[in-house]
Symmetry: C2
Subunit: 132 residues, 2 copies
DNA sequence: AAGTTAATTAACCAGAGTGTGAAGTACAGC
DNA sequence: GCTGTACTTCACACTCTGGTTAATTAACTT
């Protein structure tokens, strides 16, 4: 039951890994304009075809693209679903980047919950840095 | 002048790379609750301290955390700013995952550009996969 | 001063990621 | 059937990651 890594975690790891390479992000951007063959995708880069082919494999592995077959071409098209998952994941931190009140807010909330819990040792400037 | 990779691209690469590891995402989740020392961050994992220390270095390199010093502790706190950048980046694909008209739209655009290019083989199920 | 605690750095290793050129596969066209 | 085109797979090199243990730094404790 208690697997070390969950399905969703693996999906996220695969997607973030795939997105961690500028060439692959560039390929996705290209595919947002519509289907393209491997050769078309490779053209903008100073890189051999096999290299692109492997980048596409990574993208496919993360479910970010799907591939067809038309004659000797393997047209690729974007599948943005995993990006929605990424967007949802980041959303969980929205509050953290919107609020600049983080620590204050947190402190206030603590006091509201229980005024006696934290007498003064919460984040005292004296113990912060200056003890020479 | 014309750098091969831009600043923004590097930032994105660093952030996605950092997020591509489940342990690092887990650490960020922990830090969303507030500051924590390295030891506290390491506790949940069956992993030695140096390993965690390096994960923290990666997160710091991507600007996802900031580190202080309190006595012999190095408290870490979340900096969600790069996550906002990621959210903004994914936003550019929102349309792609919201619309289910992808292929239709693309087909229409192809026809508009050049009606003779693709007579009928656009996305015929027979040529799609069915080879014995 | 000596020892404990917190964390980093150093040295090392296994494995994954990213590129190359060369060979192999699949389809189209003369 | 042979040749060209599109792409993949193979074999290799090289670097980056991610983990380990051992040694080092830094601050508190007694």
């Amino acid at each position: 039951m208690t697997a070390t890594t969950t399905e969703a975690e693996d999906q996220l790891t695969a997607t973030f890994s795939a997105l961690a390479h500028p060439v692959r992000r560039s390929i996705l951007a290209r595919l947002a304009d519509g289907e393209a063959s491997v050769g078309e995708l490779a053209a903008p880069f100073e890189m051999t075809m096999p290299a692109i082919s492997r980048h596409l494999r990574v993208l496919e592995g993360a479910g970010l693209i799907a591939r067809g077959r038309r004659a000797q071409y393997r047209p690729c098209r974007l599948n943005a679903e995993p990006l929605r998952v990424v967007a949802d994941w980041t959303e969980q931190y929205r509050q953290a980047w919107e609020e600049r009140f983080d620590r204050l807010d947190e402190h206030v909330r603590t006091l509201q919950l229980d005024p006696d819990t934290e007498p003064d040792s919460q984040h005292d400037p004296d113990t912060e840095h200056g003890g020479s």
